[in-house]
Each structure stands twice: as structure tokens, then as C-alpha cells.
């Protein structure tokens, strides 16, 4: 199967690879997926007092589309507020990367990773999770 240029670009030059201190109260960590399903994403967000995402890092075990989806997610969330980041939809990722139908689950996983990282941060801050986070956690 042929990959889109954008997937190849993110795969070849992944943005924001790495880890943040998972014990820091300012850092929310999302770990989604499963090794036996062939993809696991770890997304970490450093969020300041104003609720703005200052930094984002990821590591992904998965196919090229999964790596590209998480790389793109880190690019998009940086500088956004929590509410803005919560608004990122998997369909936006699909459109940006030109993912074929069989790879849509990669974009879903990236969206889940953002929500899961924010939920982890809010838990650390003792902030009641936003409704959308709760909804995504139940899903």
C-alpha cells in the first residue's frame, strides 16, 4: 500500500519524540492501545497553570500511520488550551494525513491518547474531569 507524503514525512522525521517526567504534577501521561493489537501510543503533555499545553512528547509502537498520527497530535496540541486540545477529532487527523479506511483506528488511538493524557493531568490536579473526558473514558 502506498503511504501519503505526509505520513512518510512524519515517519521519517517524527516531531517531539521523547518523554517528560511522568511524576511531575504538570505532566499528564496517556498510554493507549495494546501490544497484541500491534499499536501502543504514549503521549505526554506538560500543562501550565493557565491550562495551556506547553510541551508534548510521544513514543509509539505501531505502523507508520500510527507513528504519524501521534507525531501530528503532538504538533497540534502544543500551545493549545486543554479545551482546544479536547476538540481535536480523529477525523481531522485522517484528513490531514490522508489515511486510508484501514488505518482510521490509528487516528482514533491518537485522539484517545490526547484525552487520556489530559485526564491523567486533571486527576493529578484534582480537577474534576471535563465531561468530554468522562465520555471518552466510558467509551
Amino acid at each position: 500500500m502506498a503511504y501519503s507524503d505526509k505520513v512518510i514525512d512524519h515517519y521519517s522525521n517524527p516531531r517531539n519524540v521523547g518523554s517528560l517526567d511522568k511524576n511531575s504534577p504538570e505532566v499528564g501521561t496517556g498510554l493507549v492501545g495494546a501490544p497484541e493489537c500491534g499499536d501502543v501510543m504514549k503521549l505526554q503533555l506538560k500543562i501550565n497553570k493557565e491550562g495551556v499545553i506547553e510541551d508534548a512528547k510521544f513514543k509509539t509502537f505501531g505502523c507508520g500511520s500510527a507513528i504519524a498520527s501521534s507525531s501530528l497530535a503532538t504538533e497540534w496540541v502544543k500551545g493549545k488550551t486543554i479545551d482546544e486540545a479536547m476538540g481535536i477529532k480523529n477525523t481531522d487527523i485522517v484528513r490531514e494525513l490522508n489515511l486510508p479506511p484501514i488505518k482510521i483506528h490509528c487516528s482514533v488511538l491518537a485522539e484517545d491518547a490526547i484525552k487520556s493524557a489530559i485526564a491523567d493531568y486533571q486527576k493529578k490536579q484534582n480537577v474534576p474531569a471535563s465531561e468530554e473526558v468522562l465520555a471518552s473514558q466510558q467509551a
Binding site: 495494546a34 501502543v40 482514533v108
Partner: protein
């Protein structure tokens, strides 16, 4: 060295230039229908087909009359299984095969199950091997056919066919083997192996696509098949349809080359495969060979790179053509059923690559591949949260993973 490098010889092989030259006149000059009995165009075509039949027969220690030409091994498998099932239905309705067979066998058996036949799918051990004793125990009074492949297309494991064939013959049951990956690459003799039906494909042995053969034993026992394609009664009535003369000529030439060059070729390809295997294993930790370490095709290396997903690895070694057992490379989103049958965990099945080396690979290509794979695995492990967790001493099994 030219890029991209082809290392997927189990999928298909290029036509050997000597084969192509042999085929060339049969497209435009000697174009006759081999079934035309009353003019030289037909006679010449028939002569060429009979010469090729002899070449293919010689490669497997058979008589030329026992070779039925088909469109390829999928058709040969279908003809063997459905042909026996129909012809011997009075005698019984039970077929024995194995879980690691090619889909051409498994799907054909599933079709027969819908028609009321009973099929036993034997398991394999962790190396991918079938225990001949299990074949013996599975045979019943109703068993009409045992079909076990000679060499597996994914893991290259070679089954003890001679031993299985002996047991099957003692019980008066017909023995079929899908030998697509083995014929032309390993010594093969239908009598030493005790087999009655053998599927072969030309394009896996440097012949053209679209042509194959089924060996059908004529003596001790004489095997009869109900045809699955009806028509003009070609190929002893077992496979109607105008013969693919250029394809068959190429198949014959490919068989002849394989027979003459095999001794030297096996040694050379096995050395290249071992060089690739050792080079990878010396440079990269946490890699695992899938399938029996020794009892496998000389050109096969199926290997899992823990904590790295197969499709992303394929992307990383973009100019080397290989296959992966990862679900992401298939339409089904299921990882390889062959690796699963060996008990390879799904996470390692997702991390597997299949290298298939062949006639035209070189030392230089192998060296390049070792470097490229090492580079890609290192890069992807730096990117892998699983690798990071394992380095931190976290047991991945202690984590509750989500499902999706």
C-alpha cells in the same frame, strides 16, 4: 548494487533469463494449439509441451505421464483435494491437513466441510513441525486424503513428509503435498517421499506466472481424480483447457535449470541466509527466529524484532522488499495465523519479518540489508514506548492494556 533489493523469493521469483529465452519462440513463431492433431503447428506445440512435461517429471523423480499442467499451485491444490473428495466419496468423507497450510488448502477444505466432508486440522509444535504419530492417530476408516505441505511459505519449516507418507500409505490413504516452496530448492523424489499427489508452481522456481502442475501417481497406488474444470478432455481428462504452451515450456526449462544447479545453489543461498541471520543477531538484541532453527528452507529467515511493529519496520527498510507477519500488512487486521499456530505471541507476530533469499541475491545485498535493518530497528526502538518500559524494568505483562 541496484536498489530496491528483492528478498521476497517465497512470494515469487523473477523469470530466469535462460527460461525467458526458451519461451520466446512460443509466443509468435511456434504458436500452435498443442491439441491440434492434424498440422505441424499443433505437432510442434505438442512436442514442446511433452519435452517440458519430461523436464518437470525428472525434477521430482516422476514419470512424464504423471504430470498434469494447471494454471498454478492454487489450482493444483484445488484439483487434488476436490478431485479426490469427489472421486473417493463412496470410500469416505474424512480429510486430514494441518493448521499451518497455505490458504489454497485451508479454504478448499473449508469449502468441502460445507458440503458435508469432515476435516481434521492437525496442530504443529513450537517449531512448526507436525508429529507423524499424530497423523497416524488421526486416520480413520473414513479417511480418504492426507494433505501436508512440504515446506511452509512463511517460516520455511520442512515437514517430515517421507515419514508421514509412509504411515499414510500403510493405511491405504492418498497422500498429497503442496510442495510449491520445496520443489526446485530441495531434493525431491515422489517415491522416496511416499507421496501420491504433488502441487508445484513455476513462478516460485524462476519460471513464469500462470502455470503449475499436479503430479498424479499412476501406479501403486493409481490415483484417480474427478476434474474440477470440464471441457475438451485435455491432460488425461483431469484438466481441460488449451495448454499454455509458452508458460509450460518456461516451466520445463526452469525445472531443468533447478535440477542441474540445485547442489551449488542450495549451498550458496544457505550461506547468504546464515550470513544475514548471524549479522542481524550479532547487532540487534531481543530478536527471535520463528520456526525450526535448522529444518527449514535454505533461503528462509523469519524473525521477530521485539518492541518494533513489522509494518513500520518495512517502511524503515523501504528499499528492501520483504514481507511481514504483522496484521497491518494484511487486509484482515489479524497477524499471521502460521505464527499464531506456533504459539508465537501476538505482539511478536506483529514484529516479524520474512526474508526469502534466492538465486540472484548477493553478499553485498545481504551486507546492506543487515546495516539497514539494524538502523531501522534502533530508530524504531528509540520511538517505542514498550522498549522504553522494558529498559526501565517494567514488566509489560503487569500492565492492563486497553482494547480497541
Amino acid at each position: 548494487m541496484k536498489l530496491p533489493i528483492y528478498m521476497d523469493y517465497h512470494a515469487t521469483t523473477p523469470v530466469d533469463p535462460r527460461v525467458f529465452e526458451a519461451m520466446r519462440p512460443y509466443f509468435t513463431e511456434v504458436f500452435g494449439n498443442a491439441a491440434s492433431r492434424n498440422h505441424p503447428f499443433g505437432w510442434e506445440a505438442e512436442e514442446a509441451v511433452e519435452a517440458a512435461r519430461k523436464q518437470v517429471a525428472e525434477l521430482i523423480g516422476a514419470n512424464a505421464k504423471e504430470i498434469i499442467f494447471t494454471s498454478g499451485a492454487t489450482e493444483s491444490d484445488n484439483l487434488a483435494i476436490k478431485g479426490v473428495a469427489e472421486m473417493y466419496q463412496e470410500r469416505g468423507n474424512h480429510i486430514i491437513t494441518a493448521v499451518t497450510e497455505h490458504k489454497a488448502i485451508l479454504d478448499t477444505c473449508k469449502r468441502l466441510e460445507k458440503d458435508g466432508y469432515r476435516v481434521t486440522y492437525l496442530p504443529v509444535d513450537k517449531d512448526g513441525l507436525i508429529d507423524p504419530e499424530e497423523v497416524r492417530q488421526a486416520i480413520t476408516d473414513k479417511t480418504i486424503l492426507v494433505s501436508i505441505m512440504m515446506a511452509n511459505n512463511e517460516i520455511g519449516v520442512i515437514q517430515p513428509i517421507a515419514e508421514i507418507g509412509k504411515i499414510v500409505r500403510e493405511r491405504g490413504v492418498i497422500m498429497h503435498t503442496d510442495a510449491v516452496q520445496a520443489v526446485g530448492k530441495l531434493p525431491f523424489d515422489v517415491n522416496k517421499l511416499n507421496v501420491d499427489l504433488v502441487s508445484i508452481s513455476a513462478h516460485k522456481m524462476y519460471g513464469p506466472k500462470g502455470v503449475g502442475a499436479l503430479y498424479v501417481r499412476r501406479k501403486n497406488p493409481r490415483v484417480q481424480l474427478a476434474p474440477i474444470i470440464d471441457g475438451g478432455g485435455h491432460e488425461r481428462g483431469m484438466r481441460s483447457g488449451t495448454l499454455n504452451v509458452p508458460g509450460i515450456v518456461g516451466f520445463g526449462k526452469a525445472a531443468e535449470i533447478a535440477r542441474l544447479d540445485m547442489g551449488e545453489e542450495v549451498v550458496r543461498i544457505e550461506r547468504l541466509r546464515n550470513k544475514l541471520r548471524d549479522g542481524i543477531m550479532e547487532r540487534i538484541p531481543e530478536v527471535f527466529i520463528n520456526g525450526h532453527p535448522i529444518q527449514r528452507l535454505p533461503g528462509n529467515l523469519n524473525i521477530s524484532f521485539a518492541y518494533v511493529e513489522g509494518e513500520s519496520l518495512l517502511m524503515g527498510i523501504g528499499d528492501i522488499a520483504v514481507s511481514s507477519g504483522s496484521a497491518c500488512t494484511s487486509a484482515s487486521l489479524e497477524p499471521s495465523y502460521v505464527l499464531k499456530a506456533l504459539g508465537v505471541g501476538e505482539e511478536l507476530a506483529h514484529s516479524s519479518l520474512r526474508f526469502g533469499l534466492g538465486r540472484f541475491n548477493t553478499d553485498e545485498e545481504v551486507e546492506y540489508t543487515i546495516e539497514k535493518v539494524t538502523e531501522a530497528v534502533n530508530k524504531l526502538r528509540d520511538l517505542s514506548p514498550l522498549w522504553e518500559m522494558v529498559q526501565e524494568g517494567i514488566d509489560l505483562k503487569s500492565i492492563t492494556w486497553g482494547a480497541h
